[in-house]
């Protein structure tokens, strides 16, 4: 434990973004810009069935009619959608049989990220799907999963191997008409993960996907689809990093989760895209649509997220609680430093009877950043005895940052109870004095207090992630205290 602590402290003093390296791998890219030809190109490259191409084209034509949303508490220059490369893939041999065949450069990349595919496979029993730029590189543990009938593969493979499942669920939870970035993603998505848990199966390992943007001027548009059949359970983790570049890059992803009767899906994210430099140059625009549908009775979907990266974050993981007694949860820690901006929160739509939702959001802002919580709790007329509790706290470190809360509460029946609380404060002088007096330096004391503040959420993360998240928190805030 002591060793672990020392390690964290070492990390703390190093600071900076440590995933900012770039891997020189031969890439296969599409020309810049977006038009129907590019969509045909992507679809051809991926040898997709007709229904996917039709879906893409419908989405693209709809996207053309849409306007970029500007309601977020965010300031950024207009994005030129014609200046983005919509397809970039590491050139690789057609089919890989084992890890040995994976490009050693690639393996090195993932090793640097601390995701040794090989090691993970052996030690932690976590099945990993690694997505570099737009293409899934390697999925481990597929064989073990196969025994239980679990499908866990890259999205493209799933399109080839299980087109009937993809056709059944694609776009049912986040339709392409949902919003501007969802439409864009639906038109140009390149890969992602697909996960199917059959009836009555409790997934024996944690499933994990690592996303990495590597090539320059590319956008990453991945799509994750998780289907949990009746009485099943799965815990799914997602991590993201990108190289340091002076220009901004767009990441517009979609995550769809379907939970049927008594199914439970736990979705954890540690988002650490490159946040831009100290002057706010570069970084990833992280515009993501995540939505889960508790379709069956007693279904449960739980979102846990630690957001430390991205120059701009715009995402609202949400739950549609359709089945009676279904449960939605959202736990979030969002840290912004320097010039980062985050507008994030959750949406809970209660439709079924006795549905419950919990929102715990902890925002930490430092430097000149702006951190906003934006959430919606909607109780429809039929959602008898629905219950929601929301708590959003903001911690301000420094007097040039901003913390904002925009909760929307809409209730349409008399038997439901909705509660919302929020506080905004800074680390009090008393707390600081107490730590100092016991010989803990200010910088370390802040790390300690921030970790304590975020504990409620970090506790919800799977073990593998919790350690990483804790380190990330410290690194993100490094240098923020004068």
């Amino acid at each position: 434990m002591q060793e672990e602590n020392n390690k964290i402290l070492d990390e703390l003093t190093q600071g900076e973004y440590k995933y900012g390296f770039y891997t020189d791998i031969e890439m296969d890219t599409a020309p810049k810009g977006l038009n129907e030809d590019i969509i045909h190109f992507i679809s051809q490259k991926k040898k997709e069935p007709q229904f996917i191409l039709d879906f893409r084209l419908k989405a693209y034509r709809h996207w053309l009619k849409m306007k970029e949303p500007r309601w977020g508490h965010l300031h950024y220059p207009k994005i030129n959608f014609q200046d983005i490369i919509y397809y970039a893939a590491p050139k690789k041999k057609p089919k890989l049989k084992s890890l040995d065949e994976v490009d050693p450069e690639l393996l090195e990349t993932f090793n640097k990220l601390g995701i040794s595919l090989e090691e993970q496979k052996k030690l932690s029993g976590v099945a990993v799907d690694a997505v570099m730029d737009s293409v899934s590189v390697k999925t481990t543990f597929s064989e073990t999963l196969k025994k239980h009938g679990i499908i866990f593969s890259s999205f493209s493979e799933a399109v080839q191997n299980h087109p009937e499942l993809i056709e059944q669920y694609l776009g049912t939870i986040v339709p392409y008409t949902d919003n501007f970035f969802a439409a864009l993603n639906s038109a140009v998505f390149t890969d992602g993960s697909f996960c199917y848990i059959p009836k009555g199966v409790r997934c024996p390992v944690e499933l994990s996907t690592y996303f990495r943007i590597n090539a320059a001027n590319t956008g990453q548009f991945e799509r994750t689809l998780i289907v949990a059949e009746e009485d099943s359970y799965v815990s799914y983790m997602e991590g993201c990093t990108a190289p340091q570049r002076p220009e901004t890059q767009l990441h517009a992803a979609i995550v769809e989760i379907m939970a049927k009767d008594n199914a439970e899906v736990k979705y954890s994210t540690v988002q650490n895209w490159y946040p831009g430099n100290k002057e706010g140059k570069g970084g990833i625009y992280n515009f993501v649509t995540k939505r889960g549908m508790c379709k069956g009775k007693n279904a449960k979907i739980s979102w846990t997220q630690v957001e430390t990266g991205s120059s701009i974050t715009w995402k609202y993981p949400s739950c549609i609680l359709l089945g009676d007694n279904s449960v939605g949860e959202f736990y979030s820690v969002a840290v912004t430093n320097n010039h980062q901006q985050a507008d994030t929160g959750s949406k809970m739509t209660h439709i079924g009877k006795n549905t419950k939702s919990t929102i715990i959001s902890k925002g930490i802002s430092a430097g000149q950043s702006n951190n906003s919580y934006r959430g919606l709790v909607k109780i429809t007329q039929k959602a008898e005895k629905a219950r929601n509790f929301s708590q959003c706290d903001s911690l301000l470190l420094g007097d040039r940052c901003g913390a904002h809360t925009f909760p929307y509460i809409e209730t349409r029946n008399k038997s439901s109870i909705v509660e919302h609380e929020a506080t905004t404060s800074k680390i009090s002088e008393d707390q600081m004095f107490y730590c100092n007096q016991r010989g803990i330096e200010t910088e370390k004391a802040i790390g300690l207090i921030v970790n304590g503040y975020a504990k409620e959420v970090l506790n919800k993360l799977p073990m593998e992630f919790a350690v990483e998240a804790q380190k990330l928190l410290s690194i993100s805030l490094e240098g923020s205290v004068g």
Partner: protein, 467 residues
């Protein structure tokens, strides 16, 4: 988005062209330009619709589709006010000033006292004190904000004007009564201006009433300036008929050490929107903003509260409570802005709603926007129903369920009512709330305050011996 109620918009634009001279006859020079500019804004923006974030949950399109009349001068025939309106609150001595259909109707247009206080008609004040009016008119209520505000700036001819000079304390509350009595659907745009000097003290009771069942659309703006160390106690009582729409925007501007307490009590009204905008622009200023609303049928109430903490060491405290029955709906949008150097700010925001039926609706959006770190800000919002355990407790002590509910609802609302500092008024409001909860308070034939109505004493049917 182009809005659908263009006929009223065009009618207003034409009316402005035709009556421009009449509207501007008393205006100081600066104001004339302001009106023309405001009209341009209205031309461009039109009426606010639900596409606008601020108006998302309040749809005024139905109210705007009526064929309203406008009045550009007071009707020559002088009404006998005593016949249609009487207001007496026992033991409450007030200085009453009255607007009828948006026009000041007291004989003496401006009352002036020895210590320099001026009270009366805004139109008269524009004529007599153009400099004073011009330096505050339109200073806080930006016509650019929305079409309705622009429209009021362009059209408003009359309203209340109160000027309290430095170091003057008014012992008697001023009661501003605004009555609408007209035999056709009427659009009224009033403008009230209150200027308080340094160290002054004032209590204002602002009543909005309607006397018959004609539809009214009232678009009113209040601009209130609190000088250094000034203290204002402000009460709004709203009891209008179900055909009426009231859009009421109040702008409070506070200098250092000034204290504001404002309390909006809404008992009836078809569609009511209270926009309260408080700017704390001096150190140690403070504002208490309270509201209670009891709505039923298809009534709609919308409270928009914006508090701008522009200076350090200020506090603001918001408490809004509402009970919605039948198909009523309520909106609460609170927005606290703490600017970058407004350190040591304390800001609290609370909104609690009780829904009595499955068809009632409540929307709350308590919003904090904070750019300073040494602050204490919190907000809480709840939407729920009466605690069944508390009801059980009362019932186990021999109180029937209906009474237990009444008692609980009354206690719920009482938290806001208790903040009323004028005792006779508090008792009066208390009683109105009780009547309202029992469904016995309607729009009285003669007066909103129901004073001369059937004087039935309302008491809870609780046998105290059993408690």
């Amino acid at each position: 988005m182009p809005n659908t109620y263009t006929s009223l918009k065009n009618k207003l634009i034409n009316a402005f062209e035709r009556h421009k001279g009449q509207i501007m006859q008393n205006d100081p020079e600066a104001l004339k330009d302001m009106r023309s500019e405001a009209m341009e804004v209205f031309h461009k923006q039109g009426f606010p619709d639900t596409q606008l974030e601020d108006w998302k949950n309040t749809d005024i399109s139905a109210a705007l589709s009526r064929d309203y009349a406008f009045l550009f001068e007071t009707e020559p025939e002088k009404m006998n006010l005593d016949k249609i309106f009487k207001c007496k609150i026992q033991d409450l001595n007030t200085d009453q000033i009255t607007l009828l259909n948006g026009w000041y109707i007291e004989d003496q247009k401006l009352k002036e006292t020895d210590d320099g206080m001026i009270m009366g008609s805004l139109a008269a004040a524009m004529d007599k004190y153009p400099g004073l009016v011009a330096s505050y008119f339109g200073k806080y209520a930006d016509p650019q904000k929305n079409g309705l505000q622009a429209l009021n700036t362009a059209f408003a001819q009359d309203g209340f004007f109160i000027y309290v000079p430095d170091n003057v304390t008014l012992d008697i509350p001023v009661q501003m009564v605004s009555i609408i009595n007209w035999n056709k659907d009427l659009l009224v745009q009033t403008r009230n201006l209150v200027i308080m000097g340094k160290n002054s003290k004032l209590t204002l009771v602002h009543c909005d009433d309607s006397t018959n069942q004609q539809a009214i659309f009232k678009n009113s703006i209040n601009e209130i300036h609190l000088g250094e160390n000034a203290t204002l106690d402000h009460y709004k009582l709203q009891n209008l008929n179900n055909q009426s729409s009231l859009i009421n925007s109040s702008y409070f501007y506070q200098e250092s050490n000034s204290k504001l307490s404002t309390n909006a009590i809404t008992l009836n009204g078809g569609l009511i929107r209270n926009h309260t905008h408080v700017t704390l622009d001096g150190e140690n200023a403070g504002a208490d903003i309270y509201g209670a609303y009891l709505m039923d049928q298809k009534q709609h109430v919308d409270n928009q509260v914006f508090v701008d903490h522009a200076r350090p060491n200020c506090y603001s405290n918001e408490l809004f409570k509402g009970i919605m029955d039948e198909e009523a709906s309520a909106v609460f949008n609170g927005h606290i802005l703490v600017r970058q150097d407004a350190q040591k700010t304390n800001a609290y925001q609370n909104n609690h709603n009780i829904l009595m039926t499955d068809t009632a609706r409540a929307n709350a959006k308590p919003f904090l926007e904070i750019y300073a770190d040494d602050v204490k800000c919190s907000h809480g919002a709840t939407i729920g129903q009466l605690d069944p355990e508390a009801i059980f407790y009362l019932r186990s002590r021999g109180i029937c369920e209906a009474n237990a509910r009444l008692l609980m609802l009354y206690a719920f609302a009482a938290e806001v009512i208790r903040k009323v500092k004028i005792e006779p008024l508090r008792e009066r409001v208390d009683e109105m709330i009780r009547q309202r909860l029992k469904g016995e308070l309607h729009i009285c034939e003669t007066c909103a305050l129901h004073c001369d109505g059937p004087g039935k004493e309302i008491i809870f049917e609780i046998d105290m011996d059993k408690v």
